[in-house]
Symmetry: C2
Subunit: 474 residues, 2 copies
Amino acid sequence: MTAADTTSSRAVAALREGFIDDLFVTDPEITVSFSRDRTGAYFGLPLAIARPRSAGEVSAILIRCAKLGLGVVPQGGLTGLVGAAVSDSVSPEVVIRFDRMSAVRSVDPIGYAMVVEAGCVLETAKQAAEAEDCLLPITFGSQGSCRIGGNIATNAGGFNVLRYGMTRDLVLGLEVVLPDGRVWDGLRTLRKDNRGYDLKQLFIGSEGTLGVVTAAALKIFPRPSQVQTALVGLRSTADAMRLYAKARRGCSDLLSAFEFMLRDGVELAFSHRPALTDPLETVCPVYVLMELSAGGAVDLPRVLESCLEAAGDLVVDGVIASSQAQAERLWSLREAMVEAQSRDGPYYRTDVSVPITSIPAFLDAALAELAASLPEGRPIAYGHVGDGNIHLNVVPPPGASEEERKTLFRRAEDLIFGVVDRFGGSISAEHGVGRSKKRAFLERVDPVTLDLFRTLKHVFDPTGFLSRGRIFDD
Amino acid sequence: MTAADTTSSRAVAALREGFIDDLFVTDPEITVSFSRDRTGAYFGLPLAIARPRSAGEVSAILIRCAKLGLGVVPQGGLTGLVGAAVSDSVSPEVVIRFDRMSAVRSVDPIGYAMVVEAGCVLETAKQAAEAEDCLLPITFGSQGSCRIGGNIATNAGGFNVLRYGMTRDLVLGLEVVLPDGRVWDGLRTLRKDNRGYDLKQLFIGSEGTLGVVTAAALKIFPRPSQVQTALVGLRSTADAMRLYAKARRGCSDLLSAFEFMLRDGVELAFSHRPALTDPLETVCPVYVLMELSAGGAVDLPRVLESCLEAAGDLVVDGVIASSQAQAERLWSLREAMVEAQSRDGPYYRTDVSVPITSIPAFLDAALAELAASLPEGRPIAYGHVGDGNIHLNVVPPPGASEEERKTLFRRAEDLIFGVVDRFGGSISAEHGVGRSKKRAFLERVDPVTLDLFRTLKHVFDPTGFLSRGRIFDD
């Protein structure tokens, strides 16, 4: 047994003392499963995994860890992609998992609200809403694994932000355990409540650094009974913006998705899934995948058709899905493109945003600079137009060494983030800063903002033991 | 000249020193106009009125006032109804007005965003959006006087919250001068930006206690080209909730207002404006005023009709406005009811919220208790069903003395707020706490929340000179 092992066993013994035996798991064969996030880039074996059953137990864990000087990090489904929820590898942390706090407490189909515990898997919460013919509109690829607590801590985005907003916009109330162990009870379903500061906003998107979310009240919506999906081919990203502005108007805020892809990405999808065929006769430089959803009384096919008619010659070619199966085929083009990027190993991914009207100029500039400076990388750009959110990724050449990839990734980041800066954009639109974007964030943040971040962190967590080093350093 | 006058002149001289002459107005004949809010209950002649032209001047004013130990309060249109923006009467404050910072800086009809200065009158901002065929959806009675800075500081609500959210939901970015004079630049139109803590949320709804909002970026929407309005008579408030749940579903989130009134209120309206006639043949205990709005391609009349058909025998009687004039007549019923309450002098008004599904039980309980304990008062209840927001007011008997009114108001408040507490509601849904609800707020707030409020206030404003004594005491 090494000296480090001894220190670690002592710490574990002190941590466990007086608690029910099964509150902590320390067997490395189990804890290793919660040591790596989906990017694969962050690995850290925790000192222990805590599995609380209640906010009271979370409180007791935080008080104990603070007393012992142990770091703590709350963990959701490990799908955040910025390395925030994995234990530090040098100073192992106590990871709190919420698999025992995963109940759907209530679904109210008249007041359109539901209450869930932090550990509830998003998909489970969505199904509970659907069982009452309602919609919890947080929607993205990892919804089968991510947990509500993580969605709130990261203010998760997704496909339907255009229509329903970010996770922040859907939170009516929260229960949060503060770093000092006090439980803040803001778990209410009130739609309007202007009694002073809206404290819950502080915790949403704070990536677990200011408190631990244990339960949430969320807005839900009538579940749309109709969906219309179209793939439209256009001449340019500027035309995609024009179509977006017209479509929001013409579709009367019934647009639930408006995704763009470039021809390059579509071809990558074809090469990855040979069964996919070009859905349009004309090859176009830019494609938009539009989705509208509505309740029964709206003639949704007519709304979509008249919107596309009104778009006139903006639309070069297009197809409206005549069945759900066809709609799924159109979406599978986008899925295949996303999958194809990682076929030959890791690729560089971004999650940036710019003001919506700047999307065409941003893309032109970034793609031109990538072509000039990093011709070996294959840029793939797609995104959520209505949110100004672009995933501009770079796929390395096949057979690139790890060293070559690293260099390419670093140069791509400097280049793309530099262009984002010129357009007043954000280097993290929906995934957060975590650890993977900390350097880039700190290079750009203005001193007043950073000072306020540090001040708030110090107020809530003076010793900085909760999610230490995420977003910024104390 | 009294000793107090001398102190005051010295303070004014010290305040003015080195600034351009016209930055401060101290002539009481002018400052008196900004000394009373719309409720009439709060009066305070300010030490001076500051009229800055820029965030830089706001900063200089705050630094100077902090140095001199003078209190400062930012003031919008004085329509907040909770006494927050009027100078204290005992310790006169420096009131900052924003009439020189009232520009609409930009309106972007493609990105659906606009940037305005804090002093912009809401109506002016709405008109600027309309000129680009867009909608700034903050809508309420005082929109011709209130200013955007005040809307943000109070997180204003209104008629269209059901569809478009509170002011908070519409804010994309803010510029704020902190109490220490630093300018925090968060003025961005990005729709998605997850770079750490969302600092702007702290200032929205903080009633001017944490910083001074000087400019804002706001979400705007396509301007609806069609509106449908209906007045529906129902048997009970419980049926109004059932209709609401069905209408949200049946109208596919195109509902822009869903207001309820009781028969008592409708009769009060008739007595106030004799030209108004009963719009329905059947006298009903409960009425709902529904409004739907949409763009051109939706067959909105059909959506409304099929929604009401699907409601079946929930609907006792109803009328759909066949013209804008008829729609205005339906709305005028509500306006007349609101006006009629103050015909014979001040009345007691509330602005409470409960979970939507609790509205019927809350109203039954509160009205029964009012009838039993305060039979001399006439309760008038109306509100925004979709937000759980009820204005349950009490009109004193004609000829009541000021003393009788005061007693009635105090007893009505204790009684109504007591019922709100039982239903887990809020004593301030959309107007804020200010000074008028401070006592009631402090009696109810939990210690963790109050401690966090005080901690945040202390962090931003350690000497407590900005909007002192609003919401809570330091």
